[in-house]
Symmetry: D2
Subunit: 438 residues, 4 copies
């Protein structure tokens, strides 16, 4: 068995890994490196694949061509951009279907819509728990895990040499708000069936303890919203648009007290896809995206602040996103002293993002807006969650992914505690490295 660690082994982002067994391979994920996408000023859409490769925004997959790897399927674990973003640039060159869960399928299809002439790969939706036949020798099953987007999976590739489990963004949510807790029983049975290789993510592996549940955050969210409602004034919230679970919590916590509007293009896309699959009920939510629509909405909100709950895009303070537009008065709406802004998110810790967020908060606070940051939990397993994945799956080998070499090293430290040995049964990847697993 060979593992091609193509992208996401020297950075957080642009995830891509291939696993080859007996001359047949599958690719796991094709994602963006978001910082480089942003640096390219949104012009990635207009770039050719080769131009994009030079920016560092997408994985460099030449190692697969150099080794004449025969790709049978492109398996996408979930719909975040660091996992699906590079599909429009890279997938078309492979004669292989894209396989994913139904919600992820909708996101992938939205993504490649404008590139359909270059990308004729089938996009196949497979439900969790069902078997998908990749080839005569390879079967695929999506196992259920929690993450910060619906229908995230731990992909189990069943090979003649044993199982391969790929899942580099996941957690165990003991009290989820939508969907069930990670299917621990299935993990255990998969472990018993035999896992030759696990490829986990490393995002929060250095944090002690466990990732807090969505239910616990929902309680906190409800408390903060209650305090805002009690004090009166505008209440504007922002979270990640694909965090459908959180959006459900917001609707639940509101409990009919205020009219709700979702504002922004990405919110519209992700929530409509979710509604079609029954993951959210938008019947009492006004979802707007175009400038005119928002203008009209804010006209109605303006004199009736106490009647509305606005959820807007732009929680990272991105210039031009809806939060920024609201804060800089580009709509017929003015924040004033005593209004509330709740950030149900964390700020990504890079200096440019921190500056954006700082600038946004500064504008809000100068107007007397009350700011409630960080009502949030991560979508990523912490150390003891990760330890459970190891204990349940009992993999023979581990190749940690999705992080800088230091993060991969954090994971190796954990694996050592569980009895693994470096370059014997736990390996540190590098973009372009080929690891042979015996």
């Amino acid at each position: 068995m060979k593992v091609y660690t193509i992208g996401g082994y020297e950075e957080v982002g642009r995830n891509m890994t291939a696993v080859e067994v007996d001359g047949e391979a599958v690719i796991f994920d094709m994602g963006f490196e978001m910082e480089e996408v942003i640096n390219a000023d949104g012009e990635v859409d207009q770039m050719t694949t080769n131009q994009t490769l030079e920016t560092g925004a997408i994985p460099i997959d030449e190692v697969l061509y150099e080794n004449d790897v025969e790709v049978k399927a492109i398996i996408i674990g979930h719909g975040h951009l660091d996992h699906v973003g590079a599909i429009p640039k890279l997938a078309g060159a492979y004669d292989a279907p894209i396989v994913c869960t139904p919600y992820t399928k909708k996101i992938v299809e939205n993504n490649i819509e404008g590139d359909r002439k270059n990308i004729d790969n089938d996009v196949i939706g497979v439900e969790k728990g069902e078997d998908y036949s990749v080839s005569e020798n390879l079967d695929l099953e999506f196992m259920h895990v929690n993450h910060s987007i619906p229908q995230a999976t731990l992909s189990l590739l069943k090979t003649p040499e044993g199982g391969v489990v790929y899942g580099n963004d996941m957690k165990i949510d003991y009290s989820p708000v939508i969907e069930e807790t990670t299917d621990i029983e299935r993990l255990k049975s998969a472990g018993e069936e035999g896992v030759k290789l696990m490829i986990p993510g490393t995002t929060n592996v250095c944090d002690e303890g466990r990732c807090r549940s969505e239910k616990s955050v929902e309680q906190e969210l409800e408390d903060v919203m209650n305090s805002c409602y009690a004090n009166g004034g505008a209440v504007v919230m922002s979270t990640f648009s694909s965090q459908i679970s959180r959006l459900n919590s917001i609707i639940d916590a509101n409990n009919g007290r205020r009219r709700i509007a979702f504002v922004g293009r990405s919110l519209k896309e992700y929530t409509q896809a979710a509604e079609e699959l029954g993951l959210i009920d938008l019947s009492e939510v006004e979802v707007v995206s175009y400038f005119d629509e928002v203008q009209d909405l804010m006209n109605r909100v303006s004199g009736n602040k106490d009647e509305w709950l606005i959820v807007a895009t732009g929680n990272q303070g991105e210039p031009g996103a809806q939060m920024d537009k609201l804060a800089t008065g580009q709509y017929p709406f003015d924040f004033e002293k005593g209004d509330h802004v709740i950030f149900s998110s964390r700020t990504i810790p890079t200096p440019p993002t921190e500056a954006n967020r700082y600038n946004l908060e500064k504008k809000l606070k100068e107007k007397g807006v009350r700011v409630y940051p960080g009502v949030h939990t991560s979508g990523h397993a912490k150390k003891e969650d990760h330890r459970d994945f190891i204990n349940h799956l009992q993999p023979d080998n581990i190749v940690p992914s999705h992080g800088t070499i230091q993060k991969l090293g954090d994971y190796v430290e954990l694996a050592r505690q569980e009895g693994y040995t470096l370059e014997d049964d736990v390996f540190i990847g590098e973009n372009g490295r080929v690891i042979e697993i015996e």
Copy 2:
């Protein structure tokens, strides 16, 4: 009106403030500076008052004697040591009763038990919402607030010049586990009746947003306990002994699944006092404290780890506390790989405490114990909670307390946002300063 800022204005701890109106004064709190108490190696008990004053462990109240202040009552807001610890050293010299809520009364009485020959002050328990007559001109009412100990209060002294509100440890818990949410309606009506002076604490005033609720932590606690129970092995927890609310959450989250033991002297004292007032139900909890008792308990636990939930003192890693004793094998009990230790607390950020906790965790981890730190919320208001206290009480003047000058400054920054002006209607105290309020 004169405010004597006696202790807790240059440090976190040893709180003591006096307010004088028309020649009559009350003292609010008489607390310990814990770091200095610890530095004195537990010998404070054996020291005279003058010796203790030299250590810096208790407030220096000479300004009251120099000014011939006539003290009519010693009002204690809640039972933490930084508010009650100095009573045995200082109260005896005042011909005035100690006034507090019933739970605080029990703590005070435990504290002065051995010093009764020196301290003949009456200790008077007053229920929240009732009026206590301090003198002909002064009445006292305890208003209900949330904190990390039962029956914490915001003390409202009714004077001919208007209300004086003292409460330097408090929060607004929108979803408490025991007791009710801070009595916001009473705060508002007190504000309408007229508050001439507020003396708030400053602990978390520089933190954005609101303090998370106990209910949200209970959910997190339950999630972590569920994960531990599912994996099996010993489960040992530690929290602050006076955190009766958290102890209730632990009992509730356990939900009869394991037998519970509380281990340690302070746990015994605080919980028994709480049980007598109906604040906790210990009927299914074994509470042990003496070495022999613990030894006997751990003997029974040892072969039956999966049947017990142990809650032990020593969450700060204090050498000699029960957690330390358990970790160093001083009982017939050995931690082994896969056992769990949950810290429902935060580590106090001073280097000696951080070293203690580091050493404790190191010992546990070397044995393969899984550690879950920080399942906790603070007992202290954050910025937006503090802003509510100002808005509801509308005090004419504010003297922030309980912190270094930088922390007091943090509060002044908030007060400025709400329209206050330094040394005009918001003042920075200093131990020994006398502030005249016009």
Copy 3:
């Protein structure tokens, strides 16, 4: 004696203080708040005074008008923008001369050049150690101190009630590169003559120990430059343009080995003023500023990188400054692997600046440039330097300035150690506060 704490008492920047004795007052400093100036996108030049006041970029001096304060002189301690920037907006309204040292005079005159129709104040240069008569009752003497710009002063105002010492940016450099060590003997004799009031800055008062000397940095600079020269390639440096001492160190450390060019408008202005006063020798330095000049220079440098040492503006990564232009290829010059960039500066710790600097370094490193940050020492006294100022001057009263309330609090902590008492002889200012000194 009255002290009007007008600006720089709630922020770092926009310094302005007035002191009134017997109905006569002097103003000390009129500076910019740089972050707000930057936020205003360089449009402050085009704004009216009232517009500028609204941005928060300049001190709000209305308290002087409300109190009919008779201003006799505007005394400027040194030439940094947070001390002189607001002169064009505010000084014209006062019928009083601007008094400063000769180097500061040149900076002030450059600043008000375009506004001369609105600002007809005399600008008077006074040498250190000489007496300038402000009025019959008030005399001024500039005492020599070190800072990060030439001819910085501690202003000693001699009044019938005793001396007033103002100087909110200063240090004691025991091994300076230009000028002498702070005149400690004069400080001591001034202290003996009697200082009623000192108004010190607070910038680094919370840092332990002493500020490192320029000589020690010169050694470090020389070591780094030697290593670069030994390895070969382009060497580009950046420092603060007014840091004439550092520029001297660079010229000295170069010691004729490479040709030197200073690139950028502010470098040109500050160094030419310094040259006119004999503070730097530019005879072997090519100083360029206009785009064409720089283009021509970089043309010559391009093929001869090993022959040149380029010193460019833009050490904070400011978009559009010369470092940014060089890094983004706006001149006929390309950085390549093995080239060197030395930052003889620190990055100002606000998120927008940190993002600028991050972006600049990212561009450089992507090209393989070797980056040497932080070859620098501060221009500000640390705790033990500050303690010396107190001990030498023995002021009866202190009003710390130039910082947030927390920073002013840091200074009060130091003053307490030296025997001062809050609001008795050490005071915390607030923008707009009037403090009476008895």
Copy 4:
């Protein structure tokens, strides 16, 4: 060629690496893990080798026995305890001489003095630049590098397959105080002769720029001492006892102005060894170590504080060291307001050490002592120094050492920038791993 990464690949400390060529091996270093040595409460001396192995305090060298490795020499790079400490426990089992420079030889001999019955290895002193024949096929040359102890080396093992360069603590000091700058010319010529493998340390590889020179620190030290002397009072300093260069700087900076005493056992040992080799002149220094000697000294100092400069052990605040004894009044000497303590060191960033240092400083400051921390530079290369070692030596392969896996990863990041590829020509070790180099 095989590399046995035995110790120092999962921690900072207990360094030990073996390199085997054609059936013959040498061991590089045998060091302590200091934190575990301290945890063992100084009882390591009394422990057997097996007991010590269990504590984690020394490298676990069983991999050499398992592989029947034939050890021809134990090569010690320099005299710090994390490189020589384990010799008394481990060296005796190898039939091989210990080879090192003369200063290191003295330290090694002091170390094994009491264990001579168990350790009969020859200790051979070899001057830098000379060739030592390890075997017919293996020659050794010590190349000169700078570090924070005299006669530190980069060991060049000349093998039939090419050079092996080991040196995991080193820097390039462009302005050293004793000895010369790292011998860059020899590095370059060694590189030209062919280096098959380099084993560098990683300590400060993640710090940008270059390590500051000792000369630059000497200037800072002189400035601080001048300020103390000018103000008068006791001056007590503390630095690392093996930092002979710094001790020379202290003597030079004092320049005969005060009488100097070195106080403490380790100061005595390291400086006397240095004196014997002409590395320091102690003719005007009083060196004392026993309690009676120190008592007698401090008696003489006590009334004559202004005449003495005391250099004492205990800069980390170790309880029982001389600084602690001085601060707690165990000698006839009292610190008083205005006395000075200069720490020419950094505090090792582990919580127990930080607590010790905090406690020491607290005691000093309570007495009014002025504290000057951090007058120091590291003994370890920073990123650009490391890049030079790579560029000069041009090794075919690199195995970074002396750090946690994250630190080793930091080094790999640097190596990638210089064209290396993980597990192809740059490798991450693990205690017990065997790496084959082709």
